[in-house]
Structures are given as structure tokens and as C-alpha cells.
């Protein structure tokens, strides 16, 4: 893991801060310097509400070393009600109960443990809304 890189992404990962284009309303997560939709370069900080619908998912049985203790784990793409898609792990639900179209919210969780020193890295996961 790269410490300064981790630190740099905290506003996105810890606080779900996106950017909303002041020109056309396009929501960029992470924030961008230029809007891919209208070409404008001004964005206002926009905190994602963090709820949405599962578009697709998989259960990963063979994972990278940072996730090897977590396998099998579910990974999905949720279309946020705010209009942006996010990839994250799906948690707090039986792997057999996940269904495309289900409603999920984002929660702050531990994502991975790094190497021998076991430093934890945090971020968001999808949790089912019941």
C-alpha cells in the first residue's frame, strides 16, 4: 500500500465526497478536473447519500493476497440514487441471498490488511437495506 495515496483518497473513501458539475449536474466520484459530459471545469463538493440499487455482482473465490482471508466475498456495482455507479464489496448478507435489483446502502468498514505490519485500510462496503 502507498501511504500518501491512501491519505489522498480519504475524502472519497471516508466521507463519500463526490463532485457535481456546476454546468450540467454530472456527478463525478471520484472528483474530476473536467466534466466528461459538458466539458466544464467547475465542480461543487457533493456528499453522496449512499443508497442505491445493485446492478450486478459476483462472488470471488480466488482473491488477491490482501483479501485472501476474506474469500469467498461478494463484489458488486451499485447505481447510487445520486446518479453514479460504485464498485465495492457486499457485506452483512448471505452470499446466496444477493440478488440483482436489491437495495443497498454504503457503510464505512475495514477493507483490507496490508502485509506483515497488518495496517488496516478502510473504505466503503455495501450493506443490504431490509
Amino acid at each position: 500500500m502507498f501511504p500518501s495515496r491512501y491519505w489522498r483518497e480519504i475524502p472519497h473513501r471516508y466521507r463519500l465526497e463526490a463532485g457535481k458539475c456546476t454546468g450540467c449536474g454530472f456527478v463525478a466520484f471520484p472528483r474530476r478536473l473536467v466534466c466528461p459530459q459538458c466539458g466544464q471545469r467547475e465542480f461543487e463538493t457533493f456528499k453522496l447519500k449512499g443508497e442505491g440499487e445493485l446492478l450486478t455482482y459476483t462472488v470471488i473465490h480466488v482473491g488477491p493476497s490482501a483479501f485472501v482471508d476474506d474469500t469467498p466475498y461478494a463484489l458488486g456495482i451499485v447505481k447510487m440514487d445520486d446518479g453514479v455507479n460504485i464498485t465495492a464489496q457486499i457485506s452483512d448478507i448471505g452470499l446466496d441471498n444477493i440478488e440483482v435489483g436489491g437495495r443497498y446502502k454504503i457503510e464505512f468498514r475495514k477493507i483490507q490488511s496490508d502485509g506483515h505490519s497488518g495496517i488496516h485500510a478502510y473504505g466503503y462496503k455495501f450493506i443490504p437495506i431490509r
Partner: protein, 385 residues
């Protein structure tokens, strides 16, 4: 732009090449291409390689490979676009010759993937995806293609069996390719019951980890008279397009926009219709990829790629033979070399030199090479003259 022809192709036997360094693997294939073409020198060289930095701790392959190929102080460039680095090397060499800068240009691809362990390879390959917003959260490449597979199944009713048919067909073809890493045959049950990697994809839906290289020689079409070892093959179309690096940033996970655009550009440039294409090598890094790519190129309507694979339409004797070489699945997938090996197969078929897997009356062939989860794509069309 000058017309450009491919006058030589070379490739080594792919697999786990424990006793060969990356420099020897590349050089071996490059020498085969040079021999095949009959040229006595090359003027410039392009090398597609995804990540020799992470796989073997060596960048600067332009200098290294020009040195070990013994071609003097020629211009030599390394180009990278993840798993379509080879296709990019081919396009770069094509533009070099087309522009008039150089005449005899080698386009090669290489990857040495087995010097690191499986985890090192997983890490290196994942650098083709969005490091911060996919990989950080646990995404793997089989995982990303599994997300596409699930979306395709939900939307079109694509079945587990249809995915497996792709692997069965490609291993059938690969069993006739003496250079393939895994020339064994398999069955639908064999694919479905293999170890699960990322649901619904099993190990047998995935292309393997491979060491290997391939190379081709290009020259201006008006110089081919000097090199007539084989029927001459012209490059008539080249398309290159990108898409968002993160799968989730796209509107649709069941089609591949970069492939669609690159395919259309290549056809337009070639002045051909899809029905003129006699064979196509596509980037079947996973079985679902072949299904989606054949749809995005337009060979089948959206959702019809699975049924077509099941019906045998993509077999060597089918309506449109796809991956006669065995594809990435059976032939192997040394990522930087794959795009050049596709050109090798298309040229061999167009020349009528593909032996047991030769298709009949091959006049026009296509190759589609893709990086990451579809974030970049190269499509080339070649015609025998």
C-alpha cells in the same frame, strides 16, 4: 498514407518457459518473424508489453530488445495498453510504415509472467483496472468479467452452458495448434465443474498465465515484390478506441463500447462489411468476453452471442470462425504478446498455412485485442492479395 503489408510472422511455443529470460523469449519470436519474411535487417521496432516492470523488474524494453536482437542502433519503442499492448504495437508499426518514416518495421509482443508467483501476477494484472476504485475494494480481473457475465445473463438469459461452449470450442481449435500452451480438449461439464474463481466463472472460463512472444514484419505494400516467401497480406483497416478504465463508469455492462467503435472504424477504413470477414480472432480472456465481443463487433445481435456459440456458429466450420488459433483460452495469454499472436493467426489463415485448423477460402480476416475490462481496444483487418 502508404499501403502496408505483413511479410513475416513468428511465434514461439507458449507456456511456462522457466529456462528463458524475457530477452530470449522475445528474441526467439522476432528471429522467426525475420526468417519468415526473408528481410536481412529491420529499420525500426515496436514492442508491446503490459508490465515487464512488475513481472520481471525490467523496463526499457526498446533498448534491451534492440540490443539482444543485434539490429544495431535502430529506433525501438515499447508501447503499453494493458492486455492489448500487442495490438497497439501492431498499429504503431503500421503508422510508422504508413507515414513513410521507416520501411521494414517489426511489431512484437512479449510477456514473461511466471517469474512471479500467482499473487504477484494477480497484482500486476490488476494494474489494468482502476487501482483506487476497483482493485482497492477487492476487484480482480475474473471478478470484473464475472460482473459482466452476471449482467449479460440477467439481461439476455445467457446460460452457464453457453459460456462453457466458448471454452470447449477454443480448446478444440487449440488442440490443432502446435504452439498452444494448453492444447487439450475439454467438455461443457469439464468447464462448469472446474474450481470456481469468480461466480459464475470457473478456472476453465479463464485464460491462463503464460510466458511467450510473437512478432510480425511490416513493409510498404509496393516493396512486397522483394519478399515473396508467402502470399502477401495487406493491412486494410485499423481501429483504436478507449472507454472508462472502471467498468462501473459505463452505461452498460453487457456490451463493449471501445470494441464497437474500433470495429466500426476498422471496417470503414477497410471499405468492408462485416459479412466480408472470413475469420476473426477475438480477445477471449474469459469466456464471457468472447460472447460480448462477438456481439459488440456486430457478428451477432445483442444477446445472441451465447446462443450462437452453442449452435456452433463460431467453430472452424461455422458461419464465422472465431479464434481458430484456440484463442487466449487454449493458446495462452502472455498479455503483451496476445495482440501480435492474433495477427500471426490471421496472416497464417489468409496465407493458407494453418494446417489442421485451416479454414476454406480465407480472404479477409479481423483481429480484436482488448485491454483491462474493455478500457481500450484495437481492431485490425487484413486481406490477402
Amino acid at each position: 498514407m502508404r499501403d502496408v503489408a505483413v511479410i513475416g510472422v513468428g511465434m514461439n511455443k507458449w507456456g511456462e518457459l522457466w529456462d528463458m529470460s524475457i530477452r530470449d523469449i522475445f528474441t526467439e519470436a522476432a528471429l522467426k518473424a525475420i526468417d519468415d519474411s526473408g528481410v536481412d535487417h529491420i529499420d525500426a521496432m515496436y514492442i508491446g508489453c503490459m508490465s515487464s516492470g512488475l513481472f520481471v523488474g525490467q523496463e526499457h524494453l526498446g533498448s534491451l530488445m534492440a540490443d539482444y536482437l543485434g539490429q544495431g542502433n535502430i529506433p525501438a519503442s515499447r508501447v503499453e495498453s494493458a492486455c492489448c499492448s500487442g495490438g497497439l504495437a501492431f498499429r504503431s508499426a503500421y503508422m510508422d510504415v504508413a507515414s513513410g518514416m521507416n520501411d521494414i518495421v517489426l511489431a512484437g509482443g512479449v510477456e514473461k509472467m511466471t517469474d512471479v508467483g500467482g499473487d504477484g501476477a494477480t497484482y500486476a494484472l490488476a494494474t489494468a483496472a482502476d487501482g483506487e476504485y476497483e482493485v482497492y475494494n477487492g476487484a480482480t480481473f475474473p471478478g470484473l468479467y464475472a460482473l459482466m457475465a452476471r449482467a449479460h445473463m440477467e439481461r439476455y438469459g445467457t446460460t452457464r452452458k453457453q459460456l462453457a461452449e466458448v471454452a470447449v470450442k477454443n480448446h478444440d481449435n487449440g488442440s490443432k495448434n502446435p504452439l498452444a500452451q494448453f492444447p487439450f480438449k475439454t467438455t461443457v461439464d469439464g468447464v462448469i465443474n472446474a474450481v470456481m474463481v469468480a461466480d459464475p466463472l470457473t478456472l476453465m472460463d479463464c485464460s491462463p498465465i503464460t510466458d511467450g512472444a510473437a512478432a510480425v514484419i511490416l513493409c510498404p505494400a509496393d516493396m512486397i515484390g522483394k519478399y515473396k516467401n508467402h502470399p502477401a497480406v495487406k493491412i486494410i483497416g485499423s481501429g483504436h478506441a478507449t472507454d472508462s478504465i472502471a467498468l462501473h463508469s459505463r452505461d452498460d455492462f453487457t456490451s463493449l463500447k471501445a470494441t464497437e467503435i474500433a470495429g466500426k472504424k476498422a471496417l470503414q477504413m477497410a471499405g468492408k462489411k462485416l459479412s466480408d470477414i472470413n475469420l476473426c480472432e477475438v480477445h477471449d480472456c474469459f469466456t464471457i468476453a468472447e460472447i460480448v465481443v462477438t456481439e459488440s463487433l456486430g457478428f451477432f445481435e445483442p444477446g445472441q452471442g451465447g446462443p450462437a456459440a452453442e449452435a456452433g456458429d463460431t467453430r472452424i466450420d461455422g458461419k464465422i470462425p472465431i479464434n481458430t488459433s484456440g484463442g487466449l483460452k487454449s493458446k495462452g495469454h502472455p498479455v503483451g504478446a496476445t495482440g501480435i499472436a492474433q495477427i500471426y493467426e490471421v496472416v497464417s489463415q489468409l496465407r493458407g498455412e494453418s494446417g489442421e485448423r485451416q479454414i476454406k477460402n480465407a480472404k479477409v480476416g479481423m483481429a480484436q485485442n482488448m485491454g483491462g475490462s474493455g478500457g481500450s481496444t484495437l481492431v485490425h483487418i487484413l486481406e490477402v492479395i
